[in-house]
């Protein structure tokens, strides 16, 4: 194909080719330095959408995992409190059985009453357990201790009533779980001279009352012993609820972690370069540039002028 080649033509043509060689080289260098296939959405819109959606999903998973962590810690704190109470509860059951024993005299009963009072105090303290700055057994009233003794011998519960006490945490999209148990359902209370009494503390307080009185009514004590067994069951089932909550959280946590891995993989596939390929491309491009430069030097020079 005949084309008139002028000196400027040669120059321009050579420069155009060198520019495109160098551009390709710079592109590769950028990729290798950043480890990413591209830096702007326009270079690959579909992969960009994958990357952006992955970022959103990973953000959510982060949040859920953090919440699960917080929930687990609070639940474990509650669990420990309950566990601590078990010894005392068993102890108080023994004392009650002993009290029904005919041989127990007034003095012994009084001493037992004192021990029961210790147990009740301990339950009150456990009811005021804190996780961080929160009182965890007060339902939604986490700022103030739920248990107090405004009147000597009485334990008042001032937290949220059971049924309206839920504190929820989001552990997955649209899935909230209740992380707390309120004190009134767990340990109970006893105040207003017995007009308000419930649960473990209520039962133990009534037993203590009998033991302290000058003429203890053993029938009452016997009834309350049955109630004590019910109360023990309540506490044990609370423990098992918390236990199954913990294992649910573990399962959800593992699901999220697996998701994190597969989403990160998908994101990496869309975003990251294959180093081996990029480096070998770059070496090829460098060789091409070298060859270009050498050839360019050769063809620019000669003209008829050299030979006249």
């Amino acid at each position: 194909m005949y084309q008139r080649i002028t000196n400027n033509y040669t120059n321009e043509s050579v420069l155009n080719n060198l520019y495109s060689n160098r551009s390709a080289l710079i592109e590769l260098q950028k990729q290798i330095a950043s480890g990413k296939k591209f830096e702007r959405t326009s270079e690959d819109v579909l992969s960009s959408i994958t990357i952006l959606s992955s970022n959103n999903s990973l953000g959510r998973l982060d949040s859920y995992l953090k919440n699960i962590e917080t929930a687990k810690l609070e639940i474990e704190t509650a669990n420990k409190a309950i566990l601590t109470s078990m010894d005392s509860i068993h102890k108080s059951r023994e004392l009650t059985v002993q009290a029904l024993n005919a041989t127990s005299g007034t003095e012994e009963l009084n001493m037992m009453a004192e021990q029961l009072e210790q147990v009740i105090e301990q339950l009150k303290d456990l009811g005021n357990t804190k996780y961080g700055t929160k009182y965890i057994f007060g339902g939604k009233e986490t700022g103030e201790p739920p248990y107090s003794s405004p009147v000597d011998g009485e334990i008042e519960y001032a937290g949220s009533t059971y049924g309206s006490h839920e504190r929820e945490i989001e552990i997955s999209e649209g899935i909230n779980i209740t992380v707390n148990i309120s004190g009134d359902a767990l340990f109970g209370y006893y105040y207003n001279s017995g007009a308000d009494d419930q649960g473990l503390i209520g039962t133990l307080s009534k037993i203590k009352e009998q033991m302290e009185s000058s003429s203890p009514d053993k029938d009452v004590i016997r009834d309350e012993l049955n109630n004590l067994d019910d109360d023990l069951t309540t506490v044990l089932s609370a423990q098992s609820t918390l236990g199954s909550l913990l294992s649910r959280l573990d399962i959800t946590e593992n699901i999220h972690k697996d998701n994190q891995i597969s989403i990160t993989d998908a994101k990496s596939g869309a975003q990251d370069i294959d180093f081996a390929k990029a480096i070998s491309d770059m070496q090829f491009q460098e060789a091409a540039l070298q060859a270009s430069l050498q050839v360019s030097a050769q063809i620019i020079k000669p003209s008829l002028l050299n030979y006249i």
């Binding site: 959405t41 919440n67 504190r167 989001e170 008829l304």
Partner: protein, 505 residues
């Protein structure tokens, strides 16, 4: 029968001719690297005595040697037109590409430091607050993340605004127009049109005197190339040596006068600068030249800074950010106003609804003027994060640990907002960014294509107008030998005359 000294005249003319051609070759070689220079060529023809008689036998057409009829330039008019049209498109896409890359860098979400990242952290902070609602540190964290989000929106919007202003100024402040790209280009076009008219004037005069003003023609062609980069003009060569330049039917240059002058005035929010064409006395010929300038760098500037919804415009991105700011703040504010905050002045602190503050506000503390540039976290909440209404409306005043409302605010993440076309806030951002990406990608592809085409055309043109050293050298040798031959003839004729003279005297 010719005169005695006829031979001397002939030989002398021949010597001058060869000398002149060697001068032309000299000029070509000297200008080999001059931009816009077209190789010049001597058109050599036979010189005849030219006496024509109506009587056939008396008509003599004696050959009297050779003469240079004209010195012409190597030029292909068709190629020039083709080149200029493509160069117009190339400059158009080049300008669009530069700006689309800038837009992408401003609204960059891919590196996960953009708006979606701020949204994510904000949602996360609310989610954490939900499980520990009366913790001051967590509340303050929510406030900080909210401030980061509003700041991000403010900055992104402002950067886009600045980009638009650099192109077409701010229509509310007319003095910003002076340094805007559109004005600078319009002024340059006016200058160049004026120069073309002046050059045409000189060319007309020069041609009528029988000279070939090749240098001026080259100058004018260069200016025509440069004008084509700015606007897609129609160029016609007139018989008197001038050119007519028109844009979409409006004559800008005719003969030796510039008849159309570009001026730029402030426009409106949709098109902040209005391009007008005036006549020399300032009367308006075209009140809005936007539709005429559909290519060239000026066309790209007007398009990018305009509001054509089918194209990529800076305004469309700004509008998307505004919509996001309004809808998102509304969703959070609605929840904020329907919950309960903690009155930390009470002892012990308790839930209250006495003074309900909006979460996000404009610079007047209200929600009426909220936009991407004008969105802030309510200063009352910044000063006292306990004003965040994290508790549900149904909770008792002592239930300060309730975070149900904060949980709902965190779950706005999953809510589709009607004002965002049924997308969540995060999804809306992804849609906006990928829309920008597809449009920018198309621009980039066209830019590459036009780049290749103009490179090829430029080479093709160069092949027509350029100087080839081999050619010049060959011509140099040729005419040098002719010169020698003419000189030889000169001396032979001279000898002959001497012999004749010798015979007589």
């Amino acid at each position: 029968m010719t005169s005695t000294l006829f031979g001397i005249y002939n030989a002398q003319r021949s010597l001058s001719l060869n000398q002149a051609v060697i001068d032309i070759i000299n000029n070509n070689i000297a200008n080999i690297n001059t931009p816009g220079y077209s190789k010049q060529r001597a058109e050599i023809a036979q010189l005849t005595s030219g006496s024509i008689s109506t009587i056939a036998e008396n008509a003599t057409q004696d050959s009297m040697g050779a003469v240079i009829e004209s010195i012409s330039r190597n030029r292909d008019a068709y190629l020039d037109t083709y080149y200029r049209n493509e160069k117009s498109d190339f400059s158009y896409y080049k300008e669009l590409n530069e700006n689309s890359l800038l837009i992408e860098d401003i609204v960059s979400e891919i590196d996960n430091t953009g708006i979606n990242s701020s949204l994510n952290e904000f949602y996360q902070s609310l989610s954490e607050l939900a499980s520990n609602s009366n913790d001051y540190v967590l509340r303050n964290n929510v406030v900080q993340k909210a401030i980061a989000l509003t700041t991000k929106l403010n900055t992104t919007y402002t950067q886009l605004e600045n980009l638009r202003e650099s192109l077409v100024g701010d229509y509310t402040q007319p003095n910003t127009l002076d340094s805007s790209k559109v004005k600078v280009i319009a002024d340059d076009i006016n200058d160049k049109l004026g120069s073309i008219a002046d050059i045409s004037n000189t060319i007309i005069i020069s041609s009528s005197q029988g000279n070939a003003p090749n240098y001026l023609l080259d100058q004018r062609d260069k200016l025509l190339d440069e004008i084509s980069e700015y606007i897609p003009v129609d160029i016609t060569e007139e018989t008197n040596g001038s050119v007519s330049i028109s844009l979409g039917g409006t004559l800008l240059v005719s003969g030796k006068t510039q008849t159309g002058f570009f001026s730029v005035t402030s426009g409106d929010i949709d098109n902040p600068a209005t391009l007008q064409i005036e006549n020399e006395s300032g009367g308006i010929i075209v009140s809005d030249a936007y539709s005429l300038v559909d290519s060239g760098q000026l066309g790209a500037v007007l398009e990018m800074a305009g509001s054509d919804s089918t194209k990529l415009t800076i305004k469309s991105v700004m509008d998307s950010l505004d919509t996001l700011a309004v809808e998102f703040s509304d969703a959070i504010n609605t929840l904020q106003l329907s919950g309960q905050y903690i009155d930390s002045t009470a002892s012990p602190p308790e839930l209250a609804t006495t003074v309900m503050y909006n979460f996000f506000v404009d610079d007047n503390g209200l929600t009426t003027d909220i936009s991407a540039k004008n969105i802030y976290v309510n200063s009352n909440i910044v000063d006292d994060p306990y004003f965040i209404a994290a508790a549900d409306a149904s909770s008792g005043s002592e239930e300060t640990g309730d975070g149900a409302n904060a949980l709902l605010m965190a779950q706005v993440r999953d809510d589709v907002l009607a004002g965002l076309g049924g997308a969540t806030a995060e999804q809306y951002i992804i849609n906006t960014v990928s829309d920008i990406g597809s449009k920018a990608s198309r621009i980039s592809t066209n830019y590459d294509i036009k780049n290749n085409i103009t490179q090829q055309l430029s080479l093709k043109r160069e092949s027509v107008i350029g100087v080839n050293l081999d050619e010049e050298m060959a011509d140099l040798i040729r005419f040098q030998r002719s010169y020698e031959a003419s000189a030889r003839i000169f001396s032979v004729v001279d000898q002959n005359i001497k012999i004749i003279l010798g015979m007589v005297g």
